[in-house]
């Protein structure tokens, strides 16, 4: 399974007989699809593929009961450090409808506002804002209020993808 290191979003999967993981040696970037939560957003272009530096991704072996690897796009990986510095990974289903991301009206249309609902008693969630080719901002949603609003200024006017830990990605249409 391939997932985003910071937010845990599953963005690729491989089902095969138990063996070594595929090698990312010699690969600098990967262009992978994400399954967004609001594909019907006007001007959104699907599939929404994003380019990641390989260093932003983790390739790990996870046992699942999925019948189709595509199901991984609805799940995320939660990492827990256990004894001896090892990392234990478990899958949690990404939630829908808890995140909205909107571009502010002109002339402030280079600013987006992200609203995130709290998940349970979690204190903070990681946020990434990306264009199709790169990460442009990272934020934390700190739940002093519920929901919490996070503003990201100076974003480009192209289509953006907002990845919030625990939720399915959402798209901010281009200006």
């Amino acid at each position: 399974m391939l997932y985003i290191k910071s937010t845990g979003h599953g963005i690729g999967a491989l089902a095969t007989t138990p063996a070594d993981l595929p090698s990312l040696e010699g690969i600098a970037t990967l262009e992978v699809p994400v399954r967004v939560d609001n594909p019907a957003v006007p001007k959104a272009i699907a599939p929404n593929t994003l380019v990641f530096d390989v260093g932003e991704l983790v390739l790990a072996s996870v046992e699942t009961e999925f019948t189709d690897p595509i199901e991984i796009f609805d799940w995320r990986v939660v990492e827990t450090k256990v004894a001896n510095g090892l990392i234990e990974r478990r899958l949690e289903q990404s939630l829908s409808g808890g995140v909205t991301a909107t571009r502010m009206p002109a002339p402030a249309d280079t600013t987006i506002e992200i609203t995130v609902n709290r998940i349970g008693i979690i204190q903070q969630l990681e946020i990434e804002v990306r264009t199709a080719t790169e990460q442009i901002a990272t934020r934390k949603a700190l739940f002093q209020t519920d929901p919490v609003k996070v503003t990201v200024p100076l974003v480009p006017t192209v289509q953006l993808t907002v990845l919030v830990e625990g939720y399915k990605p959402v798209i901010v249409p281009r200006k």
Binding site: L2, I11, G12, A13, L14, A15, T16, T17, A19, D20, L21, P22, S23, L24, E25, G26, I27, L30, E31, V32, P33, V34, R35, V36, P39, A46, P47, N48, T49, D68, P69, I70, I72, F73
Partner: protein, 399 residues
């Protein structure tokens, strides 16, 4: 030029000279030396390990684990065919390090403290010397006095740094040569030690430096024969279960077996070949290096992921052209009800990354228009074959 060997002969009434008796001794000795250096290769035959005992000491407020080094009793053959025997365990005195090295001692500044030397070789040489003079040695009818015994002794010395690299250049004696007073000492490597110049104690013992290790004595033979029904080659100074062993057995019409030894000294047959050519392998048979051998991997992969190599094939194999890869991918169509799908692309690039895009086609109720919608995510079935090739003229993956 070497002389042919001579042996003494005696006749009744012949005056017996010391030279005659010397010839008796030397003939046997030279014959033994010739045997050792022609039918054996030089090195340690038994023992002679550098055993250590930890001795914690304090230097500049820090605890340093020093080593007391003892050379275990044992026997080595030098390049002249001489046996070098250490009859009893021999301590390696720390004072000997500075005595033997003499000149500037080279410190390894890569080690904390700046007081530990680089590894220096511990060398062993044969050292024949006269024994003690007998109490009643002078005789009225003899002209010579002095020792009538030669002690076949040895010397242990700390060599200079880098001496281990020159040991292979020592010239063994030819088949007809004999050791004489002008023959230089032949050095046999026992190991390496590091020395702490502050504490004046050894602090490390090792057995390898610059890929040079103490040599083990060997056998020079074109034929090895047994009168029994079993010939065994085993690795291990003292016999113990689990040592890798190769056995040639006359049982069952003749068989070659390899595996670990069992407590009863027999070989646990993990791999064997019968005299009829039947092969039995109890482990995994790796045909990796066989030209034309195939290794396969199949499964399902989502768009954007690199394909994994078949088990037993490494990235190095691919980059060196030891294998050629062939990949097949076919799209997996999602459960779309009445929808049809068009394949936008389904292929594998040179990085072995899969690209799979699908377009969902749906028509309106009366079929007058078709709506196209690109699927957000797609996956494909893959089948990857690696074929071992004979040469390395291929340039990596060829999906």
């Amino acid at each position: 030029m070497a002389d042919q060997p001579q042996r003494p002969g005696f006749k009744d009434g012949q005056p017996l000279a010391a030279a005659d008796l010397d010839l008796v001794v030397n003939h046997a000795r030279n014959r033994a030396d010739r045997h050792e250096r022609t039918l054996h290769t030089l090195g340690i035959a038994l023992g002679l390990q550098l055993n250590t005992t930890d001795l914690p000491m304090s230097a500049n407020g820090r605890t340093v684990i020093t080593k007391t080094v003892t050379i275990a009793a044992g026997l080595a053959l030098d390049g002249y065919g001489r046996q070098i025997l250490i009859a009893n365990d021999e301590p390696l005195r720390p004072e000997q390090f500075e005595d033997d090295v003499g000149g500037p001692i080279e410190i390894d500044h890569g080690i904390d403290g700046g007081t530990t030397t680089y590894p220096y070789p511990v060398l062993l040489t044969a050292d024949d010397r006269d024994g003690p003079t007998p109490a009643f040695a002078t005789g009225a009818c003899g002209t010579s006095a002095g020792s009538t015994r030669t002690i076949e002794d040895y010397q242990v010395m700390i060599g200079r740094r880098g001496d281990h690299l020159t040991l292979g250049a020592q010239t063994p004696l030819g088949p007809g040569d004999a050791v004489d007073d002008g023959t230089p000492p032949f050095r046999v490597l026992l190991g390496f030690v590091r020395f702490h110049t502050g504490l004046r104690r050894f602090v490390e013992r090792s057995y390898e430096l610059d890929n040079v290790r103490p040599r083990r004595a060997g056998v020079r033979a074109g034929e090895v024969v047994t009168g029994g029904d079993r010939l065994l080659l085993r690795v291990g100074e003292r016999e113990a279960p689990g040592q890798p062993a190769l056995e040639l057995a006359a049982t069952s019409g003749g068989r070659l077996m390899f595996g670990p030894t069992l407590p009863d000294g027999t070989v646990n047959d993990m791999f064997s070949v019968s005299a009829e050519g039947n092969v039995v392998v109890r482990g995994t048979l790796d045909a990796h290096q066989t030209t034309g051998a195939l290794r396969m991997r199949s499964g399902v992969v989502t768009d954007g992921l690199p394909l994994p190599l078949p088990a037993g094939v490494s990235e190095d194999d691919v980059s060196k052209g030891n294998v050629v890869l062939h990949a097949w991918v076919t799209p997996r169509f999602p459960d779309g009800g009445a929808a049809s799908f068009s394949v936008s692309r389904c292929d594998v690039d040179r990085r072995r990354v899969v690209h799979c895009r699908l377009v969902r086609l749906s028509s309106n109720l009366n079929g007058t228009s078709v709506r196209m919608q690109i699927e957000q995510v797609a996956a494909c079935n893959f089948f990857l074959v690696a074929i071992a090739v004979a040469t390395s003229n291929h340039s990596g993956a060829a999906p």
